[in-house]
Symmetry: C2
Subunit: 479 residues, 2 copies
């Protein structure tokens, strides 16, 4: 038997969430730091979550008519500079290749922080006529943004993985429809697979994407009392089309600029999900995204061993449509295994010992609530299906409740500041002027807008400047 040191997390999530998270990442075998400052290793257990995100989102994108492609990692400096607002947004965080082999390069090459510029150079060549539209391409790749803030696994790393969709349409209407469709698709995926409730809205003028007309985002609220942005979709209007000369001849043979969108989901979602659902025992994986949905731990000793293993195999084969592990390692005790699988957040554990065998039952243990239930072996398929659904719903409802409890409606700045100090999110009338948001942010300890719900009919006075406000906006400190 191996030495069984305590593998648990040594702090409580509610007391020190950042230390809790750091330990979780290591102890659940999710990621590791590397000798490249700010970059991390995705170990198989977290990469499997990313693969699931990829395959689910990818199949939805394909159904929407979007195709995958791959553009170069490098962007020549001149090209990156073509759209002024865009380069201003990204230049401080660009990693530059200046040498290759023994030669200095004539021009610095940016490692893509995002691929608008390299892709739109091609779009400008490829799009000639209305027949070439819409052009809707996506790529799954790695990007680099050389942040100087403290790195946090999944949440803030200099290299991360994402999808980036870049589309071009003949009309603004089509483009705007796609922008909404995409962000709704992301939102539904987060709900159904990652058990994450989100707030869909428009970013403020100050916070929108560098180069966009507007940005739609999905915002979440972490148990740490900070808001964090999930997937987003930018409607770029004709901004990039004009900078990159992306035009087409319409059916009347008139030259027109295209309308464009860009949108993304990143590996940050793994971190958000872990922080949202995890508890003092470790990760809690929502069943639909969990790399392992069920673990069977047979209790093995003495004469009954072979019998127990045989029934374990029967059960595993009954449940083979699930992502399932059977932990029959001899070198660890059952208790140690329970702890390990709890740390990894597997939604359901099935225990099966000699006594259970006699009673033709198993024990099903829920990871989220810890509830144990004795289940007759003949009912196992139905019970497992039900229980996985329950775990999903419980996680989603819990996160939804946290979100609901965190939102406080206010109508003046003093109240807003109080709400922020209480680590909550304020919902307040807002004029959407960048200068005003700057002032609110300063007074509210750095809390700016998160986003602005769509289709509001509202008349009031901005909490910042007191001028007319046509919308209510969410304000919170950001991760």
């Amino acid at each position: 038997m191996a030495k069984e040191k305590n593998i648990g997390i040594t702090v409580k999530k509610s007391e020190d969430i950042s230390e809790w998270y750091t330990q979780l990442i290591q102890k659940a075998d999710l990621a590791d730091y590397s000798s490249v400052s700010g970059c991390m290793v995705f170990k198989p257990y977290s990469y499997a979550i990313w693969e699931k995100i990829q395959s689910e989102v990818d199949s939805r994108l394909k159904k929407m008519g979007i195709k995958n492609a791959y553009f170069p990692l490098f962007i020549p400096e001149k090209l990156l500079q073509k759209e002024a607002t865009h380069v201003e947004g990204f230049a401080p965080e660009v990693a530059w290749v200046t040498e290759a082999g023994n030669s200095k390069l004539d021009e610095r090459l940016a490692i893509r922080p995002t691929s608008e510029t390299i892709m739109y150079e091609s779009y400008s060549k490829w799009i000639r006529s209305w027949r070439d539209l819409p052009l809707r391409l996506n790529q799954w790749n790695n990007v680099v943004r050389w942040e100087f803030k403290h790195p946090v696994a999944f949440m803030r790393t200099r290299e991360f993985l994402w999808n980036e969709g870049h589309t071009a349409f003949a009309t603004q209407e089509e483009a705007e429809k796609e922008c909404t469709d995409i962000v709704e698709m992301y939102g539904k995926f987060l709900k159904d697979y990652m058990a994450l409730p989100t707030l869909l809205g428009k970013k403020s003028e100050k916070e929108k994407f560098a180069g966009a007309e507007y940005t739609l985002s999905l915002e979440m609220f972490l148990p740490s009392g900070k808001a964090i942005q999930g997937p987003d979709a930018h409607h770029d209007g004709q901004n990039f089309a004009k900078a990159f000369d992306i035009t087409f001849l319409d059916k009347d043979e008139k030259k027109q600029y295209v309308y464009q969108n860009t949108w993304a989901i990143t590996t940050r979602m793994i971190g958000i999900m872990l922080m949202m659902h995890g508890d003092n025992k470790g990760a809690v994986m929502p069943p639909n995204i969990a790399p392992t949905q069920i673990v069977i731990v047979p209790i093995l000793f003495g004469d009954s061993k072979d019998k127990v293993l045989k029934v374990t195999k029967d059960i595993a084969s009954k449940l083979k449509k699930y992502r399932l592990e059977v932990d029959e390692r001899d070198e660890y005790s059952a208790g140690w295994k329970f702890n390990q699988w709890e740390m990894k957040g597997v939604p359901i554990r099935i225990e099966l010992g000699p006594k259970d065998l006699e009673k033709k039952q198993v024990v099903i243990v829920r990871r989220d609530t810890g509830e144990k239930e004795f289940v007759p072996i003949k009912d196992i398929e139905t019970k497992v299906k039900e229980t996985l659904e329950k775990v999903h719903n419980y996680l989603y409802d819990q996160a939804k409740e946290l979100l609901k409890q965190s939102i406080v409606e206010v109508d003046d700045l003093k109240e807003l500041v109080k709400v922020i100090e209480a680590k909550k999110m304020a919902f307040a009338p807002f004029c959407n002027q960048p200068e005003c948001e700057e002032i609110i942010k300063e007074k509210a300890g750095g809390a700016g807008t998160r986003n602005i719900p769509l289709n509001q009919k509202f008349e009031g006075r901005c909490v910042g400047c007191g001028k007319k406000a046509h919308v209510m906006a969410y304000f919170a400190k950001g991760y």
Copy 2:
């Protein structure tokens, strides 16, 4: 109706294969050059081939027990230098990041040309005991090798996509078994999906991977008269384990070094496949890998249009398990469409006009041979299945025949030189000394060994130096 300029390739494959290939890439909408010298854009049509390669190979790797992970793009210079032979092999082609934002970096960061060094730093931390072995990880990613030769789409680009597997075992035996299993898996995949016959063998001492004990490779022979290497697997013995201190305590608590392999398949395979099977009309896609396996072109005019479209839809729905396109564009003529789909190499075209409708038949046209067949609509499922198999077999047999015809057995250097001059591949006795290979290469106009078939029992005299030769090796000019 759109202007229908001639979209065909203007040279014959047999007369100028490199110009033919350049035109093919553009005209079949496979790839495009970018403003980053030596880097290319994978357009959706070629990226779809890569996705198919990925998903097929990935599922085979997972069945073998290998897991995916993701390691950083960057490798600190000091780390890259840890294994002497390895760094010597890659240093001349490394792209270096030296600046980020406005800062100079303290240490240059290599863009990974391959990930041994960054991965083995982690392996050295992660592997402690026999319980941690085997460790079998793979990643699908992009790598950069700053070649200074003329770039050729898919075949030779500074950035390319691949999988890289890096595994560690307790015993040499397990490691060597995996090495063979992997290369055989790749070979079977190339045969079954890309219709490519290969020669499996060991690379010569001169040509083996920088840092390996030996390299197993799959070699192919192109219609241009040049050999080209496909996927490979390197058995590294304990070389990297010693350089990176990757050790474990065995069951007797003794410290041991691990045994390692690395293996890869790259986007170059797309280029090889195109070059092998394409003809003067364009690409010819093997059915199992083809992004589109079947295109239905309804012949639409006058009153019959709706009827023809209706039956087209019925047929499409009968064939929905295939990757299928229906080309009902109004703005192009049927003839222009035929040319376009032939250029793209879709294995089967189904034509359906008003006259066919009367006879309750369709026309099935094979892309490989051009054969046309009238097929009763009721038989279409059986016929399509048969025809796709026939196309696959025809492409494979043709490539196999080319390979067979290209190999000439020789036993002296003069003959070998003649064979090479005739743009063929020589099979000759060889001593496997790097110095001797150098001399043969010089005399044979640059033709070195490709690989050496396994498990030979052979006694003879080396064609180079006349010393004892225990093996026969393939010699050819390389792509």
